[in-house]
Amino acid sequence: MSAAGASPFGPRAEAGPPGLAAKLLGFCDELRDEGVAVGTSEILDAFAALEQVPWTSQDDFREALAATVAKSQEDRRLFELLFERWFFRAAESEAIERGVGERGERQEGGQLDIDELREQVRQAIVEGRDGQMRDLARLAIAAFGRQGEGSGVVGVDVQRIRRTLGLSTRTQPSTEDGGAEPPPIDREQLNRFERHLRRELERDLIERTSTLPPSRPLADLDRALPTSPTQDLAAVHRAVSQMKRRLATLGHEQRGRRSGLTVDVRRTMRASLETGGVPLRLRHRPKRPRRPEIYVLCDVSTSVTSASVFFLSVLHALHDSFRKLRSFVFIERISEVTDVFEHERDFRAIADRISSEGGVADVSGYTDYGRVWLEFLTEISDDLDPRSTVIVLGDARTNGREPHTEVFAEIASRAGRLFWLNPEPKLYWNYGDSVMAAYERHCDGAFECWTTRHLESFVNVVAGGVPRD
């Protein structure tokens, strides 16, 4: 191995002596950057685990690493994305450094019968054999991927080759032969082939240019929340679990002593041993820390469509963490959906059920905040007390209807704390039909919230939370 300093490929090469350990640490670093909680103990475990498996088997290597480092499904998803990239890069950069290449050895692929190749590819995809798929991907690239060096953009080339091969998930009579219709290919399997294609094209590109493309964090799109609910629930969950701790400890100080204690018969009897079986000293059940009561009201109207998925995932995460949580969705009317969340775990199912049986829209489908407050207050006014926290998720756009600020103020005064999370950037508040200012006065805090980062900052503010007087 050549001196690390001479390497033009990224700063991480200097981090330590070249070798597997350094690579692994770098990989873990990158995982951390993407938000996977990889602690030192995980890394130690990973090394211990890798000693037990033959490192030549890629599957074992990957699984062993995953079992010790990625500890939830979301983590695992990120792990897969990064693993591919990182170890692929590692191998390629090594190859460049040592001047290993295979360009010269490649034979002319031009004479290859395209139809035959097409058939072979189809066969390999259906059988799902990775090795064969890789080889065929190379053949395909050699055959008609690089006439004129390709477009230089990997994604475009992948699609072009796929089209040329006539691979599609739907059954459609291919252009030349209308007779024998090939069976459709499973989407998942086709994706696998595309991955191979992409990889080989990348390898090719790297070899040609002798540089690695700059390593960049996973595109925000990959992990953004508002668009794809199931992808990064983990981030929301993390923020919410933080919030949970904060909410749970707040307001704990003044909890009463001695009042409402119940006698723990079991422990009293045990304690009575010291006195020969005569229960002289009463033992009480330990007081469990009181869980805060939380009411969440979530706007699901069309004006917040993009955000409501995010909000629902926040709700979803909240439900995981709090037992005493009641959630409501509203548009024109309000409807309690606590049950839905308690009985469904799968996020998509929840979203479906809420849209199908929420029963919150009347005719217009426009939010009516005033009416929502009225209904909310009549429905649960008795339950609201200074211990409860109300969180509103909405854009405060009343569509020109009466905002009923006084009712909102009433809710705010009954509840211990009231927070407002607005999916719009602060810039847009109070423009148009937004009456945020009117409501904001009664809130303990109003926050813009359309990414997990905002959610985290909300949590932080709550943490320093000044309880309302």
């Binding site: 103990s41 079992a67 969950h237 020969g276």
Partner: protein, 298 residues
């Protein structure tokens, strides 16, 4: 039980599990192997009915270790999971030995003789190595999870009156979770993580074949395909692997030759167990099956 020699590689582990009637996929075999080698607990997550608990059982059969099981539920506390002082016996001891001095009695009644072992304690104190299954850990509250930490990382339990009880033999711990809530980081940190999902078509066929060997090949494939079809629907409770096996056995008993609409309608309740699901499945899957006769069954 005579302890089988410990598997030396992932492949051997897989074989050993297969001998114990459990067809593990690559990752399950690998993680089991690592757990046994590194002495770390396994945390198994996945949808209900993919064989999480079964993995632990097979593990115990494969390694010839005894299985100690702790079923978790809401409200489970230390007294039921760890240990408890046998208070009646202690009382008897005090009353029986009236004339002996306090010191003696005191030292006596807080000895192991008066300790009631609960599953966790039993797993630790056992002289033979065991497999400890902590089932559905997500059903307990976080306080209980915290209590487990000492056990999971150091395999020891601290009893105030006795001091620390350390494991005399390393138990293999398997925790299962249906993922109904997020477990704490601290717990996850101590475990190897394994996500079990519904098996691939081939593997599920193998599993069914293993448990219902008399079923014809074609019918097995048919059955697994139908089950997968049902799973792909949006049903309340997707059919588990165990239910596939049950269904296979039922079909054997019925002497069915093929899964046609009639057989399906008759035996569907084995894999679908919700009123609304039954309607949905009958409509979506039932109609795709070939009719037994010219007329579809009403």
């Amino acid at each position: 039980m005579d302890a089988a020699p410990a598997p030396e590689s992932v492949a051997e582990m897989k074989e050993a599990l297969a001998r114990a009637q459990y067809l593990a996929d690559e990752s399950a075999a690998l993680v089991s192997f690592l757990a046994q080698r590194l002495g770390k607990p396994i945390l198994v997550e996945g949808p209900a009915g993919v064989g999480k608990t079964e993995l632990a059982k097979a593990f115990s059969r494969a390694t010839g270790r005894e299985l100690v099981r702790l079923q978790c539920y809401e409200g489970l506390d230390e007294a039921k999971a760890l240990y408890e002082w046998n208070y009646r016996k202690q009382l008897l001891r005090i009353q029986a030995g009236g004339e002996s001095g306090w010191e003696e009695v005191h030292g006596d009644i807080f000895s192991e003789e008066f300790l009631l072992e609960r599953p966790l304690m039993k797993a630790i104190a056992s002289s033979e190595p065991v497999v400890l299954l902590i089932d559905e850990i997500d059903k307990t509250d976080q306080e209980f999870e915290a209590m487990l930490l000492e056990l999971l990382s150091d395999f020891q339990i601290t009893i105030p009156e006795l001091g620390q009880v350390s494991a005399s033999s390393m138990p293999i711990v398997v925790l299962t979770s249906n993922n109904s809530r997020e477990l704490t980081e601290a717990l996850k940190r101590r475990c190897l993580y394994l996500w079990l999902d519904y098996p691939e078509l081939e593997r599920e066929m193998e599993i069914v074949r293993l448990h219902a060997p008399d079923l014809t090949e074609a019918l097995t494939q048919r059955l697994v395909e139908v089950v997968r079809m049902v799973r792909a629907l949006d049903v309340k409770k997707p059919p588990s692997i165990a239910e596939s096996i049950d269904w296979a056995r039922t079909l054997l008993l019925m002497g069915a030759e093929d899964i046609d609409r009639e057989t399906f309608a008759q035996s569907m309740s084995i894999i679908v167990k919700h009123r609304t699901d039954i309607d949905l499945v009958a409509e979506r899957v039932g109609l795709k099956l070939p009719g037994a006769s010219a007329q579809a069954p009403g």
